[in-house]
């Protein structure tokens, strides 16, 4: 099913020109290796820098301190927690991202179900608006929201972010769950409805259990999107104890004319770990979620 063209071509030529085929295979794998290196080598370098000591950073890369550093030190990681207090921003980020995810999943599942199944008037227009909202320029939102939060005395608090981040998560999640509900055969529901169950009972006992994979995908994407925000955090948060992790990182490692990249990169490694784990274990789900019905 996949890779039709190369497979067909190989079959046709394999008899006559084996060396050409082998060269092509070698070039292909070389390209694959280069792509993987471009994607992942920078992460190795980040880890390498994070494990340097301050004096190694000052000395710079080169000589004995090359691709593999001469010494490894956990000092930067310790300092990120003990001196820079990275635990607080990490906790803030986890609270906000989890809360956004929960709200998103509930609200998007409700709307997705309604748009897929209950014949409401104007469903097309509603869906169009939801998608358009996903394209709304974030930097056009910050001014008015800043003034609003200021008048509510809620600037420099992480809690309003939970609502604001919905602009990242709701459009894609609603769209994704709507497509997901459409794919569930409606016979299941119809059977329950004819048996006298109400719509809500049917939802709870029949639809939601079947929808778990779709909800899970929406949750993963929402968590990633909320975890990754920078623009709102940098606009609304002003005191370090209220920073989210991405914002806190930008304040690390500055000391006079020298930037201590080991401190910055230790923090970068820490906030990349949850994301890297999610991607490794849920790669398929993320790919299907990103592409679900996006152009069918």
């Amino acid at each position: 099913m996949t890779a039709a063209v190369p497979a067909v071509r190989h079959r046709r030529r394999s008899g006559q020109s084996d060396p050409a085929k082998i060269i092509r295979e070698i070039l292909f794998y070389l390209a694959v290796v280069i792509v993987i290196l471009i994607a992942l080598f920078p992460f190795y370098w980040i880890l390498r820098t994070a494990l340097e000591s301050n004096s190694q950073v000052s000395a710079g890369v080169g000589g004995a301190n090359g691709i593999i550093p001469s010494h490894l030190s956990g000092a930067a990681f310790r300092s990120v927690f003990s001196q820079q207090g990275f635990l607080t921003p990490l906790r803030n980020s986890i609270i906000v991202a989890l809360a956004t995810t929960v709200v998103t999943v509930i609200v998007a599942a409700m709307a997705g179900y309604a748009l897929a199944r209950l014949k409401i008037r104007g469903a097309g227009a509603i869906l169009g608006f939801i998608l358009l909202a996903g394209f709304f320029p974030v930097l056009a939102m910050i001014g008015p929201l800043f003034l609003l939060l200021r008048s509510l005395s809620m600037l420099d608090s992480i809690y309003p972010l939970i609502i604001v981040y919905l602009v990242y998560t709701l459009p894609i999640s609603t769209w994704l769950l709507k497509n997901f509900f459409e794919q569930i055969p409606s016979e299941l529901e119809d059977a329950a409805l004819t048996d006298g169950a109400t719509r809500l009972q049917t939802l709870r006992r029949v639809v939601i259990p079947v929808a778990v994979p779709g909800v899970f995908t929406a949750a993963i994407l929402s968590f990633i999107l909320a975890w990754n925000d920078f623009a709102f955090a940098v606009s609304f948060l002003t005191s370090p104890p209220h920073f989210t992790a991405p914002l806190a990182i930008t304040t690390f490692g500055q000391s006079g004319f020298q930037t201590y990249y080991n401190l910055i990169d230790a923090a970068v490694v820490i906030i990349s770990i949850p994301i890297a784990l999610i991607v490794l274990f849920a790669q398929r789900r993320i790919v299907s979620g990103l592409t679900a019905g996006s152009f069918r």
Partner: protein, 329 residues
């Protein structure tokens, strides 16, 4: 009475022959109001279920939009303490269009967007073709490619800031092999061109994977027989790519282009983190300027005007793409 008896007579014998029909008409006949009521209560439930998403999204998009329009015709600057928020007409707009800072930001943003979408889509297409092929380690390749997309922009920006640092990064370390003077080349904050190169690398490294995944999904829905037919007609690889793959990839390409264009047009995080708009003002984009006007200068009048231009630009781009890629019938 007579009519009822008449109806019952043909109903009897027909029963055996058309059980389905009778069943349906029976259910539809007696509890007719129930079916109707269900549809009505369904619809009511539907509005109830859709309401939260609409209210929340209107609160974070329509409210700021209207507020921006209102602000853009008023003087509203927190730095000027208690000056009244008086009506100033189109003053904020004329100030914006006359400001060379805004006009250059617009030019930069447009150039950055065009370069980004052209290069990113070409590279992503190659990457998608690679990920589409069946080979050992394809799953690993896909996961590896996804990681840069999934990490926060602060990570990709800080990561490349490290890499382009002459002391801590690998860029100059590897470049030194080509030319000794390149061993301590400074990039960010030193040269305008090199700052843009660094921004471009960081931004594309993070965003190409997304485009590639969308295109990959597009490749996967092209049925096999189309290629088979092209092969039987004697098409070589390039011909079948030009005549089969590209046209059938059109819907996926349009989705990828819309997303990527808007992302590039509204670029902010990576600029803020890597250059802060510098050296000088040379890497300021429209979104960055809008941030500065709101948060640094606390000028919500001119900021409102700038925001409105952002919205208009984003809408215009989406509109053009939707028109250009409308399915041909």
């Amino acid at each position: 009475m007579a009519a009822e008896a008449k109806a019952a007579v043909p109903g009897g014998p027909a029963d055996a022959g058309r059980p389905g029909r009778r069943g349906r008409s029976g259910r539809g006949g007696r509890p007719a109001p129930v079916g109707h009521a269900r549809e009505r209560s369904d619809r009511r439930l539907g509005y109830l279920l859709v309401a939260p998403v609409l209210i929340l999204l209107l609160a974070v998009t329509a409210y700021p939009l209207v507020y921006n329009i209102w602000n853009s015709f008023h003087f509203d600057n927190l730095s000027y303490g208690n000056l009244p928020h008086k009506w100033v007409g189109v003053q904020n707009y004329t100030a914006m269009f006359k400001s060379s800072q805004w006009v250059s930001a617009l030019e930069r943003t447009v150039i950055f967007t065009v370069v980004t979408i052209v290069l990113d889509v070409v590279i992503a297409l190659g990457l998608a073709l690679m990920m589409h092929r069946k080979f050992r380690g394809r799953g690993f390749l896909r996961a590896a490619v996804l990681v840069p997309w999934a990490v926060p922009t602060v990570v990709s920006a800080m990561l490349w800031k490290t890499m382009f640092d002459p002391r801590s990064g690998f860029v100059d370390y590897f470049l030194a092999a080509f030319h000794p003077a390149w061993a301590s080349l400074s990039w960010l904050g030193a040269s305008v061109d090199r700052s843009w190169i660094a921004i471009f690398v960081a931004d594309s490294w993070k965003n190409i994977p997304f485009v590639a995944i969308i295109l990959l999904a597009g490749l996967q829905v092209i049925p096999n027989d189309v290629y088979e037919a092209a092969r039987i007609d004697g098409a070589n690889w390039w011909q079948s790519f030009r005549r089969v793959t590209l046209p059938m990839l059109r819907p996926a390409l349009s989705v990828a282009l819309i997303f990527r264009t808007l992302q590039a047009l509204l670029v902010f995080d990576v600029i803020y983190i890597m250059t802060g708009g510098g050296p000088g003002n040379s890497t300021q984009t429209l979104s960055f300027l809008s941030f500065q006007t709101f948060i640094t200068s606390t000028d919500f009048g001119e900021g409102g005007a700038m925001s409105l231009m952002l919205v208009v630009l984003a809408l215009a781009v989406s509109f053009v793409y939707v028109r250009a890629f409308r399915p041909q019938t």
